[in-house]
Amino acid sequence: MPDIQSLYSEKVMDHFRNPRNVGEIENPDGTGHVGNPICGDIMELYIKVNGNIITDAKFKTFGCGAAIATSSMVTEMVIGKTIDEALEISNKTVAEALGGLPAAKMHCSVLAEDALRSAIDDYHSKQKKQSKTKAKAKKK
């Protein structure tokens, strides 16, 4: 009987075996690309935002079990949250929601936090561009 659980919590294994929200979103409102090949973890996070509420999130991840599980968890956590609420999610809250991560794997949860922030940043900058475009449109 595998007892890989002794490395990862049951929650991590659940998210690793059945990752939620895998995939990409067509025309996302925000996208985060983080990680680098040297560390062996690459994560893409896509969000759909409607009136300040994150209505959908999807991910694609190249990485270890913890990277996949944190990616899955972070998408689950953000859906339904406002942007401000989502910004309160830290690597610690993701790790906690997963029932903890081995010390050597905490960097994966940092990756998830970074991906989320980067997606939100992307959303904000798109928003700015749009409002500028709208402003411009109005001026014209």
Binding site: P2, F16, R17, P37, I38, F62, G63, C64, I68
Partner: protein, 387 residues
């Protein structure tokens, strides 16, 4: 469901006959071999018998074998022992694909003023003998090149390197941890002065190894203590461990020829199974100069640990050169030395077969792995086309 163990290069289960041979030396013939009374002499006799067995495996004389706590200690003592023996020479030649036990010992010596050349390897993992020839100087005290690599299984031309080194009056050490008991290893054939072995890689117990020291080789001891091992290694002998090591080498000698053939078939079967069923896979290491038990592949777009975990959930044990499986974050220095990209190195999987691997085990891997890879590729950001 039966667990399929395909990580024999990491460690092997101790052979039941080995455990049985060890048992009397824990609580019955438990004496300290340094003691002159009966218990001590029983223990000493057992250690000396084991020394003969180990020596026989590698074609050495009994008194050229020093027992250690493992392959790492054998490597440490060989390299430091030579380095400190001749104050006039401070240069060591090794390779970029050595085991950490060699590399880290060299780095330690560099911090203490030694010069170390880490020779590159070609894309199949082979050292170029000319590189050894061209980097030897009058300051060179040692060439240390492993017999076969633990990750990719590439077998180095030690015999040729030994001729070069010894022709230049330089000692040569080889880390034979992955070869002793797996393929023929003979110290005179190879022509080496020093050679490391570890018991737990050949169905012996963990925590025991040996360093072969050719008669006449000047070496500063590594483990300072009582006069054990003819003053070459202090510490009370690990009698049961040594006895088990001896037994394991005896068994290895008896089965090696058949096992080489059998494992080579399993290996080839697994390699072709993987390459045929999964696209975007490359075999790492040398196609033919390769350990009979080693399969190492890079699977494009998929990270190694996530494959390992999925395999483990299917009761298959393998290993990877991806950083995420260890506490460091760097991918395997061996795979990078072959010229693989970081992605490719992080996408590696190693299967190593052994004594108890069956055809059915290999079939099962060929069936499970494509599924695992497909599943993970579906979530890989590196594979846009599969969207």
């Amino acid at each position: 469901m039966k667990r399929i163990y395909l990580d024999y290069a990491a460690t092997t289960p101790t052979h039941p006959d080995v455990v049985e041979a060890m048992l009397p030396y824990f609580s019955d013939s438990f004496g300290n071999p340094s003691s002159i009374y009966s218990y001590g002499q029983e223990a000493k006799g057992a250690v000396e018998k084991a020394r003969e067995q180990v020596a026989a495996l590698i074609g050495a004389r009994d008194d050229e074998v020093v027992f250690t706590s493992g392959g790492t200690e054998a490597d440490n003592s060989a390299i430091q022992g030579v380095a400190l023996a001749d104050p006039e020479r401070n240069h060591i030649i090794t390779s970029a694909t050595e085991h950490h036990a060699v590399i880290e010992t060299c780095r330690f010596l560099e911090r203490r003023g030694f010069k170390v050349t880490y020779l590159p390897v070609d894309k199949e993992g082979l050292i170029n003998p000319d590189d050894v020839r061209n980097t030897i100087t009058e300051k060179t005290c040692l060439v240390s090149i492993m017999h076969a690599n633990n990750e990719i299984g590439t077998i180095q031309p030690i015999k040729e390197l030994a001729v070069i080194a010894r022709g230049a009056g330089v000692l040569i050490h080889t880390d034979a941890v992955q070869t002793a008991g797996q393929i023929p290893v003979n110290v005179d054939d190879l022509g080496v002065d020093l050679l490391s072995i570890s018991a737990h890689k050949l169905y012996g117990p963990k925590g025991v190894g040996a360093l072969y020291i050719r008669k006449g080789t000047k070496l500063v001891p590594f483990m300072h203590g009582g006069g054990q091992e003819r003053n070459r290694r202090g510490s009370t002998e690990n009698v049961p461990g040594i006895v088990g090591f001896g037994k394991a080498t005896e068994i290895a000698r008896n089965v090696i020829a058949g096992e080489i053939e059998r494992q080579t078939q399993l290996r080839n079967h697994l390699i072709s199974g993987i390459l045929e069923q999964i696209d975007g896979v490359r075999l790492n290491g040398h196609p033919t100069n390769r350990l009979p038990n080693n399969v190492n592949v890079s699977v494009d777009y998929v990270e190694g640990e996530s494959m390992l975990l999925n395999l483990d959930l299917e009761n298959i044990c393998a290993s990877t050169g991806s950083a995420c499986s260890s506490s460091s974050l760097e991918a395997s220095h061996v795979l990078l030395a072959l010229g693989l990209t970081h992605e490719q190195a992080h996408s590696s999987l190693r299967f190593t077969v052994g004594k108890w691997t069956t055809d059915e085990d290999i079939d099962r891997v060929s069936e499970v792995l494509p599924r695992v890879v497909a599943r993970l590729r579906a979530m890989s950001p590196l594979l846009k086309s599969h969207k």
